[in-house]
Homo-oligomer: 380 residues x 2
């Protein structure tokens, strides 16, 4: 697999953004988050883990994006397609990029600047500095009209390949779970060892791992692992978001420690059935809400959902991004969108099972990016 993208990928993203900016009457976009900056620049580094320095990318109405970044990033940004790289020596206690960003924006925008303000967005810089930037601008700042989210929602062929590669790595790691998990093994050790398997199978890193192991089903799916040993009758669930070249997979697998109970087996079969029901209708033109209802009919009989809040979501540069499979999200699926199908089902009081697959939307049946799970749980 080739890392990175051809320059045409970034040219295309930028051109499409500029077309949409023109339609929305925006002179420039200002971007502050890892994924948004990377989407237009190709700037890939784990250095964002440090909150100490802000990073900015300005997309003007014409021409290439402009990077306004700490000087520690200049060498790496210089390897991308970006030519105009403006740096300051950060952290700076009096002016941490504020005047450099303000000047840059004023040089390209006279009237209106967009920045993502909608669902899932945040502004990755101190609010006090943002106030100072806005006070120095000639233009006014407004929502980006959803431009960045809309662009990122539809994946290119190259992006889909990266997600598929990440999914294949996770698939091989899941296939090896019987090597590391079984009766008596502490869940915390399973978590550490599963991340190790992901790395051995080719992950660059493993930003996300959640899971649980409990009798017949689990209470929640976001807790850290305890040191409790796996026991006969447990269902072990591991849900990973590993990254390859900046793109995530996000799917889970359930394992039965010993023979599953009839109740557990039935519940698992409903999860598989819910995915089948989604697959029957998922293609271009289907809405997120329709997918929700197709699965919800199977897992709750049409109750309208659960506390988990959704039965799937978009996927790509972030573990979750874009649409949600909920009753009120009427996003129409487009060719090249990558989403997860993530039905959950109750198994007795307060316990659930959750299953997740990753697919790409086509004109016909979806293509599975995750190696589709079998109809029966793997026994450990």
């Amino acid at each position: 697999m080739q890392r990175g993208f051809a320059q045409a990928e970034f040219e295309n993203r930028t051109r499409r953004a500029q077309e949409m900016m023109h339609a929305a009457d925006l002179d420039a976009l200002v971007l502050t988050t890892e994924a948004d900056v990377r989407y237009f620049s190709g700037y890939l580094t784990r250095f964002w883990e440090s909150p100490s320095r802000p990073w900015f990318l300005v997309v003007p109405a014409e021409g290439k994006p402009i990077a306004v970044i700490p000087s520690i990033g200049a060498a790496l940004m210089g390897q991308t397609w970006i030519d105009d790289i403006r740096t300051w020596r950060a952290p700076d206690v009096t002016d941490d990029g504020v005047s450099l960003l303000t000047d840059t924006l004023n040089s390209v925008a006279k009237r209106s600047i967009g920045t993502p303000m909608g669902p899932e967005s945040h502004l990755r810089m101190p609010l006090s500095d943002w106030t100072r930037v806005k006070a120095g601008l000639n233009a006014s700042v407004q929502d980006d009209a959803g431009i960045v989210a809309q662009l990122r929602a539809v994946k290119s062929v190259a992006e889909i390949s990266k997600i598929e590669h990440a999914c294949a790595i996770a698939g091989r790691a899941f296939a090896r779970v019987p090597e590391i998990a079984g009766h008596g093994v502490p869940l915390s050790r399973v978590f550490r060892d599963f991340q190790r398997l992901c790395l051995e199978e080719g992950a660059d890193w493993v930003p996300y791992l959640a899971g649980a192991s409990a009798k017949s089903g689990y209470g929640d799916v976001i807790s850290p692992a305890s040191d409790a040993p796996l026991e006969a009758g447990d269902v072990l669930m591991l849900d990973t978001g590993l990254v390859w070249d900046g793109y995530f997979c996000d799917f889970d697998r359930n394992f039965s420690v010993g023979e599953p109970s009839e109740q557990t087996g039935t519940a698992y079969a409903r999860l598989i059935g819910a995915v089948d029901a989604a697959v029957d209708i998922v293609r271009t033109g289907t809405t997120a809400a329709q997918l929700f209802h197709a699965m919800d009919a199977i897992v709750t009989g049409g109750a309208g959902g659960s506390d988990a809040g959704r039965l799937g979501h978009g996927l790509g540069m972030q573990l979750t991004e874009g649409l949600s499979l909920i009753p009120d999200d009427h996003t129409v699926l487009e060719l090249g969108m990558v989403i997860t199908l993530e039905p959950g089902v109750e198994v007795g009081a307060g316990k659930i099972l959750v299953h997740e697959e990753d697919i790409v939307i086509t004109d016909g049946a979806p293509r599975f990016l995750s190696p589709r799970a079998g109809r029966d749980m793997v026994q450990l």
Copy 2:
């Protein structure tokens, strides 16, 4: 090592925040980021990797903090010391916690609400929703007067133990680098295998790994690993921020592939000398700027710094947090602060070596949390 904290830890953090809020005339704090929410609640989950849902913690002037969170987090938050947990079913396309947060804040704050707006902070929620929240408040919102950052900067004994535990894990992994790295091994494989070693040695996860390998020194320290094989004469640097129970270590180690050149050996000796110079003066009452100058005198002869921008920083719940060792940061070191000493030195045109250790501030000589590096580079 015991995971988690005694409840007294959170009571103490909350009480001190409330004392400072009283002095700053704040009726409440509203917190939105992973570290800030966890600091006062103990809520620990990797689920923050998903940007789809906002999470809020409100610290009122009296009493326990109040959690305002998506219902998917209720079970886990219910395991913390927080009693008042208010949930909504997220994501919600029309009201994603906005009215619930607004009502909660109005119930505890009549005049003034603080939220972190200073260095390193950001508001982890959509700006459009923040605007709606502010419009519905009886109180005005202002900077938190640095309260949260000040509290987090000084670590408790229990926090220091967790950081030390993380450092010990990384120390064991670094000691095993000769198992995985050497002439001809691709850097990308070293990166994957080093993360594997961190997990084998007990890391919960490995959020951060940076590094490089190049002849006599490296060009930058934040790039992803290439597939280029290690060659004789290279200096391999690995810099990890692994996590144990929610606390980071952050230090690096340099390795010489074969015999180091005289130039490289001399440069490395200056890094060790810079740490020695810092150790000579670092204790309660020393300022961040004084530490910078002590090291800068050794590594540049007193030039005033480099593009990396700083020679160390605070450390704890985040990879980097709090003070920076730069000329303009006059933060006075206090008992219990945990910082890194991170001198860098130029080795010929455009190449550098960087060395990093983690220490805790005491009334006398600092205590090393990272197992202090030897005076000579380990040869591979």
